[in-house]
Symmetry: C2
Subunit: 256 residues, 2 copies
């Protein structure tokens, strides 16, 4: 799908799904072409606006960290727009691509649910880096064991319960397949991605808990996975494997 | 300012500024009346849609946690709208109240910068709760000392540098007083609130670093504090003191 003169460029680290994946899933669900330079062999454009001396490029503010989305010609004075923050990028894309519910109110529900799923995603990251992102896992392993235990016992059920009840409250329209309204939204793809990552990072814990959330794991999860653009994408080479990103294969942090 | 039949109800824990404060600051900057039931003696409305069995109220999805904003009559079928997630609430309010930059592109910059300041806010919380929010500080104090050291040395400068460079990049329009465009936005009030909290929680650390960011602490910070609605609010009884919320007086976590 990626080619060279496309409107959308996803600026994210190469080699891991990471936070870029939430944006990829919306682009792929809507069959929107995009370039992904770090995964096409040249990560340098990703870091230009994150440099510690950068005051912004083409009238855009400087970036804290990837992901960013570059939109050709959509910025100030016809220059390129560079947007930061995952949910902000999804919000922007949804104004053109849709996937944000049935009406204006739904669009706020979709944004809120996406932010909640991204909070969960951050909490997963903090299970293996509770002391700080700038230290190695090995240097905070003891803290990580405690943090992961707390996360598995208290936070996974709290988030899964919210998602299950959101599906239940919208069951009349969404049939258990959609969190908001009558069709796929980027809240669905975002929640799905976090659940997919949790199943990878905490396979025993998730296996033990899935039965408690029948709509979430029985209906919603397989349904999102089977949506046209998503199914095709997941079967393609563009879908990256988990590695040393947010979701990691550390069996010691899983249920024992 | 609060009265009983107002359009906007802020649903947040009583007694601490917390994440509710970001919403209060936008309402106060725009002199918008609102009710704040938990701080008016009745916290029960705050928790109705967060209950572990709730599938949503009046067609709104269930909430993960406060803050929420209730908007009378603005939801589905003329019912009350209940919105969750701080940045989502600010985004919604800005469509009516403004304070979101000079144009449509600016509105995305404002949202992104707000999200970045809220990320910093979360990281502050994690300095005293690195293992988990469900445990007492005293039960994770050792981890907190390590996490706070890392936060002070690596994260405070990284975020402050981004804010300084954002002001620099927008200096032509914002004169160092505004992060985006030519006037006050909710990105400014959000960044200001986090800096205000950091000065409370890490007074020695912030004192030692302020000189490195002349626009941020020399121009921006006092300017936001002096904006009409904000100045009035900060001098009122509605402005709550920091306590056992995000920003805490734990001298052992500050620079020694």
């Amino acid at each position: 799908m990626p080619s060279n003169d496309l409107k959308y460029t996803l600026l994210y680290h190469g080699g891991v799904p990471g936070r870029g994946e939430f944006i990829r899933l919306l682009l792929e669900a809507s069959s929107t072409p995009y370039t992904d330079p770090a995964n096409a062999g040249d990560p340098s454009p990703v870091y230009a606006s994150c440099k510690p001396e950068c005051t912004g490029i083409d009238g855009n503010p400087p970036a804290f960290s990837p992901p960013m989305l570059k939109v050709a010609g959509a910025g100030k004075d016809g220059k390129d727009l560079i947007l930061t923050q995952t949910s902000n990028i999804l919000l922007y894309l949804s104004k053109t691509l849709g996937f944000n519910g049935d009406d204006e109110v739904d669009a706020y529900y979709v944004n809120a649910l996406t932010l909640t799923a991204l909070d969960l995603n951050n909490e997963v990251h903090d299970t293996h880096h509770p002391v700080g992102t700038t230290l190695y896992y090995e240097d905070q392993k003891e803290e990580a064991l405690r943090a992961a235990g707390n996360f598995r016992e208290m936070r996974i059920p709290k988030f899964c319960s919210l998602f299950e009840r959101t599906l239940k409250g919208n069951e009349g329209k969404g049939k258990g397949k959609y969190m908001v309204g009558k069709s796929l939204s980027y809240a669905d793809t975002t929640v799905w991605q976090v659940l997919n990552g949790l199943k990878f990072a905490f396979p025993k814990e998730m296996k033990a808990r899935e039965g408690d959330y029948p709509l979430l794991f029985g209906t919603f999860y397989p349904s999102v996975e089977g949506e046209k653009g998503i199914k095709e994408y997941l079967g393609s080479e563009r879908r990256l494997k988990y590695g040393m990103g947010i979701f990691r294969d550390y069996p010691e942090l899983d249920r024992q």
